[in-house]
Symmetry: C2
Subunit: 478 residues, 2 copies
């Protein structure tokens, strides 16, 4: 059977300030109404049934990814939480071992969660052919036909043609890979373009899970052994998370390219012209999104005067841009980025500096997604804090109490069911309820519409840690 393995563990600092540690690139809606992750699923779901789509991610992103899939109507996609971050060889290996257990002959398509592909039909054709090549025991990679002498990617040099099945209807050619190369300097990139047999390394792969694991045993034997132990430890009836983490953390953090592909003698490449982009920076959007008559990519509340070839992302606030050329401007509730397009690949540096200073703007947005909905801090003062909280239909917050702060809640949309010191109250739109200090309380949305409440916290101490939870965010008692 065909399986898809989506790698969704990236932090995506390159799209700061829209991306944050807790809101990585693959969850952003930068390319339209959907997240890049959802677009990745959409692209393959006609070929791979939902039950055979696996998403490998981190513990901290798993909740938000589940929510995103559920919002998009995907309820059967499997989510694998990596015990720690150890680069792509381990992440892909983890999925391979899981797939092998279900489906010893299974073929896996490995897909980064945050790439863009314009020509979806051609992409599916390539995957169909790739599947055949994988069945013949090749590790297949998609090599993207270069459109310019890019210095930001690794390249693949193709070798001899592999003729497995004669000329196919789809006119896809497979080649043995002669060589993987590092990111070239500009002169070398120009040479690669002229040579015509160099392709961009897309990070999209196809192979049989068991064949991949054989190659892993050859070239990364510790990974191979350890991953089976990890899956064992994570298995029923008694998952041993500590043990799994301990083993996983012992792995070298190595990419699948360095760890396996460059060593294997059985690597094939399909040459792909599909309008691929790894969407590596804000500037990359100009090549993907619709440009207006001035060559600008604009989202939100933006006024331009004499502004050209710029990327301008607004939220609520108005951006007035005058006389800009080739600039990137991205505005969010709490942080704003301005840089020339050519600098936008260096946004990481800013994020690094913010992390060093311990600043929130690197980690979360003012609007914080939660399993039960979301909240946003609207205002803070010396002895108060103001939020809205949205609770999804059927969801509830944990039962909790605060030692130091009291809260006022006003329902402004929907209807709240409030538990307060054991008694249950229904609070209708426009109504208020007071939550005294030290009382146990819980909000619940038993209705079918969104509940929005305004929360005003008052007290001398309003720290995040002034909370006693009697259950977790998923409603499980603790």
């Amino acid at each position: 059977m065909l399986h898809a393995v989506i790698l969704a563990g990236g932090s995506g600092t390159r799209f700061w300030p829209l991306s944050r540690e807790k809101m990585p690139k693959q969850l952003l809606h930068i390319l339209g109404d959907k997240s890049m992750l959802a677009m990745t699923v959409d692209r393959v779901v006609s070929l791979v049934p939902e039950e055979q789509i696996w998403t490998v991610t981190t513990r901290s992103q798993a909740g938000e990814i589940k929510r995103e899939f559920s919002n998009q109507g995907y309820t059967k996609i499997r989510i694998l939480e990596e015990p720690a971050g150890r680069n792509t060889a381990a992440a892909i290996g983890l999925a391979a071992v899981q797939i092998l257990r279900d489906d010893p002959e299974g073929i896996m398509i490995v897909l980064p969660a945050d790439h863009y592909i314009e020509d979806k039909a051609r992409f599916l054709d390539l995957l169909s052919v790739g599947r055949e090549v994988a069945q013949a025991k090749w590790l297949v990679t998609l090599g993207i036909t270069p459109t310019h002498p890019e210095t930001g990617y690794g390249y693949i040099r193709r070798g001899k043609s592999i003729d497995l099945f004669g000329p196919n209807d789809l006119e896809v050619e497979a080649f043995k890979v002669a060589q993987f190369t590092e990111k070239p300097n500009p002169e070398v990139a120009e040479e690669y373009m002229r040579a015509g047999d160099y392709f961009w390394n897309s990070g999209i792969f196809l192979w049989q899970a068991n064949h991949f694991l054989e190659e892993m045993q050859n070239f990364l034997p510790e990974h191979h052994k350890g991953l089976f132990e990890v899956v064992e430890a994570l298995g029923d009836p008694k998952p041993d998370l500590e043990r799994a983490k301990e083993i996983y953390e012992s792995f070298e953090a190595i990419s699948v390219d360095y760890g396996i592909m460059e060593s294997s003698k059985r690597v094939a490449m399909l040459s792909a012209e599909v309008g691929w982009s790894d969407v590596g920076s804000w500037a990359a959007l100009k090549g993907i999104m619709e440009n207006n008559k001035d060559g600008n990519v604009i989202k939100g509340n933006v006024l331009t005067v004499d502004t050209h070839r710029s990327v301008l992302y607004a939220q609520d606030r108005l951006i007035a841009a005058m006389g800009l050329e080739d600039m990137v401007v991205v505005d969010t509730d709490d942080a704003l980025l301005i840089c020339p397009e050519k600098e936008s690949q260096h946004v990481k540096g800013i994020v690094g500096q913010l992390i060093k200073e311990g600043r929130e703007e690197a980690v979360t947005h003012r609007k914080v997604p939660k399993p039960w909905g979301a909240y946003k801090v609207l205002d803070r003062g010396e002895a108060y804090q103001l939020k809205w909280l949205d609770v999804f239909p059927g969801e509830r917050l944990s039962l909790q109490s605060h030692e130091h702060r009291a809260e006022h809640w006003i329902v402004v949309a929907g209807r709240a069911t409030v538990t307060l010191d054991g008694r249950i109250f229904t609070v209708e739109q426009g109504e208020h309820i007071h939550i005294p200090r030290q009382s146990t309380h819980r909000i619940e949305n038993q209705g079918s519409e969104k509940l929005r409440m305004i929360e005003i916290q008052t007290g001398d101490y309003l720290g995040e840690d002034d909370i006693t939870r009697y259950e977790d965010d998923y409603g499980r008692s603790s």
Copy 2:
């Protein structure tokens, strides 16, 4: 006696988005902790007692100007409200007629409210000498020694020296003015620099009120006659505002330069080297404010990477600027401006476009100053609106009621005295009170500390016009 007349009627669109129709340039704190208006008063108050300082402004700005003076401890400055906007000849004439009534020999210094002067001591020396020249029946203007071939200002060509008192200790020379000129083109501006006898027209004047009015009678006789009638109409015991407005509106809107100075034969100039600037654009701040080691002028929450010679004004939100050169970035709660420094003089165009579109961002800030304090809209939804309201000690809002909306108030700082349908409640910090639809209500701060309340409006209709006021904002019954 010496009087100062401060012209404070300007709207100052050039400093958008910090300046708004209801928050003009002279009230901004762009140059430090004080408004430019307060800095203008500070500059002359050692020479002119408060009671002899007159501020000419518009009706709509008068309240805010009073508040600003009171915040700065100036309680005796007189405020003249122009019945309409009719340029500087009428505004200065209005002050001259008022001064003449109090002080027939009075000398007036005319000062724009929004200029910057670095060398205050030298400036006072110039005013002292100017006073002597004015007493000898000259209309005196300060001519600024040009520091570069500026094309944005009118110039004054000096004529023969006026020797009233022989060489003075202050080494100030007075000259007869030979000619006023229009703004020059770059070649002409270069010539003026080389010639050495051209000076910038600063708009700072000194003269006897009665002498100025004589010249007005000569060159703007309708203004002259009308202004005496206006002051008559505005006088006790029964001010006739309608009549005053009708006459004032009939005046030609002409500047004092065109209307009087260019025609008079008795115009003198003092050459002034005082570090003067009319602070005409965001870019001008680089010449006035402290530049950091990268040549940037920075205010607020700003992170720069490889950014030089730029003006960066933040408020709460972080501005991350990377790779910028000679740019202007100004962020406010609801609008953000980004443009190259050389375009910053064209901000007016953006404001014009916003006004055409009927957008709030041209008119007010989210934080709206009021005679009783201020409020700020924090969030809006389909059926709710969220504000904080600050009420100054001793102040109160008007008694009012709303047909369509109910309100919840939570006190988060200070203590509120709330009148609700005739009953009076004290609401302490952390407490809540509900204001039902159609109830009459008022908030009052009887304490000595600031009162801050959170107001949550709920209802189907939340328009600004859903209010019945039983008195005005100054507490006067209506």
